[in-house]
């Protein structure tokens, strides 16, 4: 059967990327921003796997790198939660606009 054209998958990952970025830049809740970051990382994952399957079908480099990304994303999520907890302790809120003390 015919494969799905690569460009469709790339559209999907680009759309996910920009949705994630929109969420990162717009949402006020820190947890939701964290979710958006995860979305960005996962969109990059899709990109890697897609290129691996379509360009280098006999190798697994892309997939391996995706595993790396998953692991690092997990670690980074842990660190991010720690930062959020510290921010909450300082500002008593998980609204990112509450932490604007470094303004002019």
């Amino acid at each position: 059967m015919n494969q799905v054209p690569l460009i469709h998958i790339l559209f999907l990952s680009t759309a996910l990327f920009f949705v994630g970025m929109y969420g990162l830049l717009t949402r006020r809740n820190l947890i939701t921003m964290l979710m958006s970051v995860e979305l960005i990382l996962n969109s990059v994952n899709i990109n890697f796997v897609a290129f691996n399957r379509y360009l280098y079908a006999d190798r697994l480099d892309g997939v391996f790198f995706s595993l790396f990304i998953v692991a690092i994303a997990a670690a980074e999520a842990a660190v991010a939660i720690a930062i959020i907890i510290n921010l909450y302790r300082n500002f008593k809120s998980i609204d990112v606009e509450a932490a604007d003390e470094m303004k002019f």
């Binding site: 970025m21 990162l24 830049l25 717009t26 921003m33 990112v96 606009e97 932490a99 604007d100 003390e101 470094m102 303004k103 002019f104």
Partner: protein, 666 residues
């Protein structure tokens, strides 16, 4: 010729005195400042007498007194031709002037030992006096016209410091400002004149300048043909230089500062505003005399008429004034007017062409003696009566016998009665005027009658008449309006009322009185002439009948009106009502100046200039600052402290860079 080290010491010793007393006077010399200052001037005076003795005794070359330049030091070179070279020039007038300046300064220093004793700022006073002596000596010894200008300004500065010595009195501060501003304004003319003359003659040195502006040559033709508003630049230059001299010498219309300058201590008035500084203008014109003499310019006419007018005007005003120092101030202005118009009599006559030069210098010499004597006597009188006003004085001839005799001698000298000093010099001046310009001669004659009248008016009012009640007690004195009296008057308990004056105040009176008697016998015309060649002197002769008669008439009128207290003066004043009022208010010249400065200059020039400065210049700067501030506020908003905004900028930057790189590499 005298060793040049000793000549340089003459001005430099008072400078050292000024520096030492100025820096350390208050701490170390607060009692002995007077002795130090006086000692320094004494040494200078001795050196000056020695220089004069050597020069006049041995300065002959080819049968005339030549100009001799012992010291020369190049300070600033603008171009190969024009340089400011500090040099000392010795010729008859400079030698005479250093003698006069150091001698009168010495007398004033000695007098101040008694007069200013107990003053809190005693050392400062002596340091200023020494500064003045240094500046004046530098002025008369200067061989370069710019050097003269430098010392000219220094003299003005010393005068300012000394007039405003009692700086807690607003009238003194105002007077000092007025003196400085008026003379500074005149010095503007002086500077422009210097620039014009030196630019065309391409030199600043006096000898070269005079040579180039009097010998026919390309430079002289150049300056004479160049003209501005129809008058040749040579005339402009000379008239502007004379303007500087007129300001310093209180010639009409730049005389307004001199009467107000009497706010200073009386010894200061004696030194600066009678004998030395105010004759600086006369000295300057005498220095440039060969150029003023050159027949084509009208500058000497200006000198002549301004001098004559000042002499007459001042004499008329002096007849109505009641403050003793103001009368003497106007008398000074009048006598300097005589000297000036004597210098201006050059244009007309033939072989007696330069008699005016000798006569002016002779009168300068004798005037220094009797005018300083008059002021110092006035100091004794003021100290006694605690007031400057003639109405508070009377019958003092028993209380102040020595002062009485000295004052009388000085009055006889200034009125031109033989054999006192003023007679010989005034006769020479009138002779020069007679040869040159008859109307000016008649003005001079009438003015000498007025001089005798107002001086003896002063004399009789002070020493004759009814003794005032206040001459024996510590009354508050008549501190009328512009009179004011010196701050050292609080020394009653020093026994000053039982004794006429301390020895240090009497000694200069005696010495100056001897000078006023005998100075006229100096064979001046053999020593001081403009080209150094001796001329024959004039003794008492037919020509002197008119001046002496006019003077005696003046004295007689003054005696009739003032010897006995009566209402004759009041009736005379009423009879001449219009002229009297005009003269009493000094011809309203001060009011005219006040009008011009306030209504015209301030309103038409000052206010618009201030408006432009505040609104346009400052406004431009404020506008720039406001724009910068607005932009800054705008940029400031970028740093909002919000992480998401920073992330947005980060991303926009990345996107921009990516686009640029893609654009570049495809």
């Amino acid at each position: 010729m005298p060793n040049s080290v000793y000549i340089v010491l003459i001005p430099l010793l008072p400078l050292a005195g000024f520096v030492v007393l100025g820096l350390f006077g208050r701490r170390f010399f607060s009692r002995s400042a007077g002795l130090l200052g006086t000692g320094v001037v004494l040494v200078s005076a001795v050196l000056a007498v020695w220089v004069a003795w050597r020069y006049l005794g041995a300065g002959w070359t080819d049968g005339h007194f030549g100009q001799y330049v012992p010291v020369r030091w190049n300070w600033l070179t603008f171009s190969p031709g024009i340089s400011i070279e500090m040099s000392i020039i010795l010729d008859p007038i400079s030698v005479m002037m250093i003698f006069v300046v150091t001698f009168i300064s010495l007398m004033v220093h000695i007098y101040s030992l008694g007069y200013m004793k107990g003053e809190p700022r005693y050392a400062t006073y002596y340091s200023f006096l020494n500064l003045f002596t240094f500046s004046m000596l530098g002025l008369v010894l200067a061989g370069n016209i710019f050097e003269t200008y430098i010392f000219w300004e220094l003299v003005g500065c010393s005068s300012f410091l000394l007039i405003g010595y009692y700086f807690d009195r607003p009238s003194a501060v105002r007077a000092a400002n007025k003196a400085f501003i008026v003379t500074r304004f005149a010095d503007l003319g002086f500077l422009i004149g210097i620039l014009i003359l030196s630019f065309h003659a391409e030199t600043l040195d006096f000898r070269t300048l005079i040579e180039r502006l009097t010998q026919p040559g390309p430079l002289l033709t150049g300056i004479m043909t160049a003209s501005f508003l129809g008058i040749s630049l040579l005339s402009w230059g000379l008239v502007l230089v004379f303007m500087g001299g007129a300001g310093k010498s209180a010639m009409f219309p730049l005389h307004i500062w001199l009467p107000d300058a009497m706010e200073g201590p009386t010894p200061v008035s004696a030194l600066i505003h009678a004998a030395t500084m105010v004759v600086a203008g006369v000295y300057l014109v005498a220095r440039l005399y060969p150029v003023y003499m050159y027949p084509v310019t009208d500058a000497s006419q200006v000198v002549l008429y301004v001098g004559a007018l000042s002499a007459l005007l001042a004499a008329v005003i002096a007849c109505t004034q009641t403050d003793i120092k103001r009368v003497l101030a106007y008398s000074t202005m009048s006598q300097i007017g005589y000297m000036m118009f004597a210098l201006g009599t050059v244009h007309y006559s033939g072989e007696a062409a330069t008699l005016g030069y000798t006569a002016a210098m002779f009168h300068l010499f004798t005037h220094a003696f009797f005018k300083a004597l008059l002021f110092l006597c006035a100091g004794v009188i003021i100290h006694r009566v605690h007031s400057n006003e003639m109405t508070a004085m009377g019958g003092l001839r028993r209380a102040l016998p020595l002062t009485h005799v000295c004052f009388l001698i000085a009055c006889l000298a200034i009125s031109g009665i033989p054999p006192f000093a003023g007679f010989f010099s005034k006769e020479d001046i009138l002779l020069a005027a007679w040869n040159a310009n008859k109307p000016v001669y008649y003005i001079g004659l009438f003015t000498s009658g007025l001089t005798a009248f107002y001086m003896f008016r002063l004399y009789f009012s002070v020493f004759w008449g009814r003794p005032m009640v206040g001459s024996g007690d510590h009354g508050a004195g008549g501190d009328h309006g512009a009179g004011g009296h010196h701050g050292a008057g609080g020394r009653h308990e020093a026994g000053g009322h039982h004794r006429e004056a301390p020895f240090t105040m009497k000694l200069p009176l005696v010495i100056l009185a001897l000078g006023a008697v005998f100075a006229g016998w100096v064979p001046f015309s053999r020593l001081v002439t403009y080209d150094g060649v001796p001329q024959a002197g004039h003794g008492i002769g037919v020509f002197s009948i008119a001046p002496v008669t006019v003077a005696l008439i003046g004295i007689a009128i003054a005696a009739y009106l003032y010897r006995v207290v009566s209402d004759r003066p009041k009736r005379a004043a009423v009879a001449f009502r219009g002229v009297y009022q005009f003269a009493y208010h000094k011809f309203y010249i001060d009011e005219v100046y006040s009008f011009i400065t306030k209504k015209v200059i301030f309103n038409l020039i000052g206010r618009p200039a201030a408006w432009v400065d505040r609104n346009i210049v400052d406004g431009l700067m404020n506008f720039l600052a406001a724009v910068t501030a607005r932009i800054a506020v705008g940029i400031k908003g970028l740093q909002s402290g919000k992480v998401q905004d920073y992330a947005l900028y980060f991303f926009v930057g990345i996107a921009g860079l990516a686009i640029i790189f893609i654009y570049i590499y495809t």
